[in-house]
């Protein structure tokens, strides 16, 4: 047997997913014995439905212990064999606590989330997780984006081209335009250009990392002589179009989608289509006031979604928000998630969700419910939730309040960012 392979390894499977170094907790756990190959602790997760980590004593840490998710570090700290959960072992001056097993529903995030949440730890990377700061950063990025200034050429119609997370910013602008603008502001996500875009069309091309797709779009726009504004971080493509298109440089930072939103609103407003920057500015102020409330909502949601695969649905006027949830879940939580549209849901997906789907019990529905919806939609959504519940499906309803489409979208985005941050190990 390999020196690092431990047989009859004791773990504790808690009755509820809370863990701590305090031994008083232990009596609540069911002790069980499993075979663990520490060369591949992830195999334990997937084979046994258990997540394994150790707690190391760390005087620098906020609560004296810090978790270890890193296999190499775990191997260095553990004695070479026969570690049992009931005996803390002295290993070269490092106090290794028992290894705890956490009930696992299909993803490492549940154990990680609960552990972090209860102990206030930082993530493996050492970066402080802070859902509130993350939301604040997002709002600041929007404001920064709003401050951009660029000359807008003459145009007859407008089209936004976007990829990566900036597509959410484009969709948000389309949502706003649908609610208040006299001119459509469609967002095309991808690398093709619709047939109607020509020299009379103002094209706003926005991206963060999608150089490849956007290079195709920009080449086609040039062929059609479409006046173009590019919003992107400094990159080869942006440099190549300096002088051929108007350029807005996107600053470095985590929240580039926020900057893109702000910048798009400024461009749309400068173009005289709709006072999008003012609308977004009001919505940002409103979202700022919502932060404390959002944190409570996010906290509850994170509990509900931990270890689950989220399917997030929003009404058509806030699709950008539902998409944002998916983006943050992918990025912060590292697990798959899905998003969809209401009231479309009740015509087809409802049928699929009404089956127990025993092969995918981890799926969990989140409904983002704004108060701006029409009476028809409100009734349909409420009936839909009712039918889902009658068919045994748990539904998390998130009230994102009323107000303008921008306000609802931003509030929903804030809750989404915070929830994802918490699920990903944030505080």
């Amino acid at each position: 047997m390999d020196a690092h392979e431990i047989e009859a390894f004791d773990v504790y499977v808690p009755a509820f997913p809370v863990v701590g170094p305090n031994h008083s907790f232990l009596h609540r756990y069911r002790r069980t014995s499993v075979s663990v190959n520490l060369r591949n602790p992830y195999a334990v997760r997937h084979c046994l439905g258990i997540d394994v980590f150790a707690l190391l004593e760390d005087p620098q840490s906020v609560c004296r212990y810090r978790p270890v998710f890193d296999r190499e570090e775990l191997l260095r700290c553990l004695p070479s064999h026969s570690l049992t959960a009931t005996s803390c072992q002295d290993n070269g001056g490092v106090h290794v606590c028992p290894i705890y097993g956490i009930r696992y529903n299909g993803s490492p995030r549940e154990s990680r989330y609960h552990y972090m949440r209860n102990r206030g730890f930082t993530r493996q990377s050492g970066r402080k997780m802070r859902s509130l700061e993350c939301a604040t950063e997002f709002l600041s990025a929007i404001r920064e984006g709003m401050r951009i200034e660029t000359e807008i050429p003459e145009f007859g119609n407008i089209c936004i081209f976007a990829a990566d997370e900036c597509s959410i910013a484009g969709n948000m602008m389309s949502n706003i335009a649908d609610s208040v603008s006299e001119m459509p502001i469609p967002t095309v996500v991808g690398y093709d250009v619709p047939g109607w875009v020509d020299g009379n069309t103002l094209s706003v091309v926005v991206w963060n990392s999608a150089e490849k797709e956007m290079s195709r779009v920009l080449a086609k726009l040039e062929e059609r002589h479409s006046p173009t504004v590019c919003v992107a971080p400094v990159c080869t493509l942006l440099k190549a179009y300096d002088g051929r298109a108007r350029i807005v440089e996107m600053p470095a930072g985590e929240m580039r989608a926020g900057f893109a939103m702000g910048a798009l609103s400024a461009i749309v407003e400068s173009a005289g289509i709709v006072p999008a920057a003012r609308i977004l500015s009001d919505a940002t102020d409103e979202a700022e006031r919502f932060l404390q409330e959002a944190e409570v909502i996010a906290d509850n949601l994170a509990h509900s979604l931990s270890g689950r695969v989220a399917a997030v649905y929003g009404t058509s006027d806030i699709t950008a928000c539902a998409e944002w949830w998916k983006f943050r879940m992918d990025k912060d939580v590292g697990d798959i998630s899905f998003f969809g549209e209401l009231p479309e849901f009740d015509h087809n997906e409802l049928v699929g969700w009404s089956d127990p789907n025993v092969h995918a019990k981890e799926l969990e529905i989140v409904v983002l419910k704004g108060r701006g919806e029409t009476e028809v939609v409100r009734n349909i959504v409420e009936c839909m939730i009712c039918v889902l519940r009658e068919n045994g499906r748990r539904v998390n309803v998130v009230d994102i309040g009323g107000g303008s489409v921008a306000e609802m979208n931003l509030r929903g985005m804030i809750v989404g960012a915070m929830t994802a941050s918490k699920l990903g190990g944030g505080s």
């Binding site: 997937h46 299909g106 993803s107 990829a163 990566d164 997370e165 597509s167 335009a177 649908d178 609610s179 603008s181 006299e182 459509p184 469609p186 996500v189 991808g190 690398y191 093709d192 619709p194 047939g195 109607w196 990392s209 999608a210 797709e213 695969v309 399917a311 009404t315 058509s316 998916k326 992918d330 590292g334 697990d335 798959i336 899905f338 009231p343 009740d346 015509h347 087809n348 997906e349 409802l350 049928v351 699929g352 969700w353 009404s354 089956d355 789907n357 092969h359 995918a360 799926l363 029409t374 028809v376 939609v377 009734n379 349909i380 009936c383 839909m384 009712c386 039918v387 009658e390 068919n391």
Partner: protein, 330 residues
């Protein structure tokens, strides 16, 4: 018309399309943009028609599935209202709002409140044959929608579609119906899995159609995703957290629309997934092939589960709950 079985309706898709694409209707005045309104099965045809016209249409075409009609819609907007039954609450609401905005309206329905009101108001009505499941009337609805778009100044796809109709029939008869065919093999592979259908963003309506057909016919949860969003948001996630109870399925409409690196990465991560190469002569043909294939996959799935594809109990539950509201709404 007498009621056709679900399999008959599916089988008739290509013929329905072939006939309806030549439908002639009144000329439609020039418009600045087109809005296609509908939900459920009626929305799919609009979504699909908009995708078909994406690269060629000189008029922006927009799909709306929400009762609120965009603020910018007005007298120079053609609104195509689709509801197979003519009684879909959201669609009727869309019709009313479009009228309030003074839009030019065409209605596509087999009857119901919508037909009655549209006729009373003198709107253009395209009558769909009765006796079909709304989601299986898609052949007619795509054909009629493309007709309206063409009449309003959009692209004329008739010749191309007629050109590949025989190939579509052959594809259906070889790959979608016989025992052991591609559709059945995919259906078998979906057992115990959640299908996640992924297509290129310009053909997202096809992935959406697969998803909804699995939902309704097979009574299973399914999802869809799109390239390039999949590459930017999701592919890393699939690789990080192996979910072997999901089955990503990539629909290849043309070489390279799903990047090879995406497929290689998925293969390297040992994630179960499908790449479905449709084998048609053009993206347009492949879109239709994919519709045929997805429809039959969902029927095979239903068959293997022993469920009736036509039965949609939760939708009936919804309708009951909405009934009292509907009285008020009327």
């Amino acid at each position: 018309m007498t009621e056709r079985s679900v399999t008959d309706q599916l089988y008739g898709f290509v013929s329905d399309l072939d006939v309806s694409i030549d439908f002639e209707t009144d000329e439609i005045p020039d418009v600045e943009n087109i809005i296609l309104c509908g939900v459920g099965g009626s929305a799919v045809s609009g979504d699909f028609a908009a995708d078909c016209c994406f690269e060629e249409s000189r008029i922006p075409i927009r799909l709306v599935k929400y009762p609120e009609i965009p603020n910018w819609a007005g007298k120079s907007t053609l609104v195509v209202i689709s509801s197979y039954s003519g009684n879909t609450m959201e669609t009727i609401e869309m019709y009313h709002r479009s009228r309030e905005k003074g839009c030019l309206i065409a209605v596509m329905t087999s009857g119901g409140i919508l037909m009655k009101e549209a006729e009373e108001n003198g709107d253009l009505v395209l009558l769909l044959p009765s006796g079909l499941q709304p989601r299986h009337a898609i052949g007619y609805m795509i054909g009629y929608t493309l007709t309206i778009i063409r009449k309003a100044g959009g692209p004329d796809l008739r010749e191309r579609i007629h050109g590949f109709v025989p190939a579509l029939k052959e594809f259906r008869d070889l790959e979608a119906i016989p025992e052991g065919c591609l559709a059945e093999r995919i259906a078998v592979s979906y057992e115990g899995k959640v299908p996640v259908i992924c297509s290129d963003c310009n053909t997202r309506s096809v992935a959406f159609r697969w998803k909804t057909q699995v939902n309704e016919n097979s009574k299973f949860v399914a999802f869809c995703d799109f390239i390039p969003a999949f590459n930017h948001f999701t592919s890393d996630t699939w690789l990080q957290t192996v979910r072997d109870n999901y089955m990503p399925t990539f629909l290849m409409m043309s070489d390279g629309d799903i990047p090879e690196e995406t497929i290689e990465a998925m293969a390297g991560a040992k994630i179960p997934f499908h790449v479905v190469r449709l084998g048609g002569s053009s993206v347009l043909e492949n879109m239709f092939r994919a519709i045929i294939l997805g429809d039959y996959v969902s029927i095979y799935m239903a068959e293997r589960r022993g469920v009736d594809p036509a039965e949609v109990r939760p939708v009936m539950q919804m309708k009951e709950k909405l009934a009292s509201f509907r009285q008020r709404f009327r």
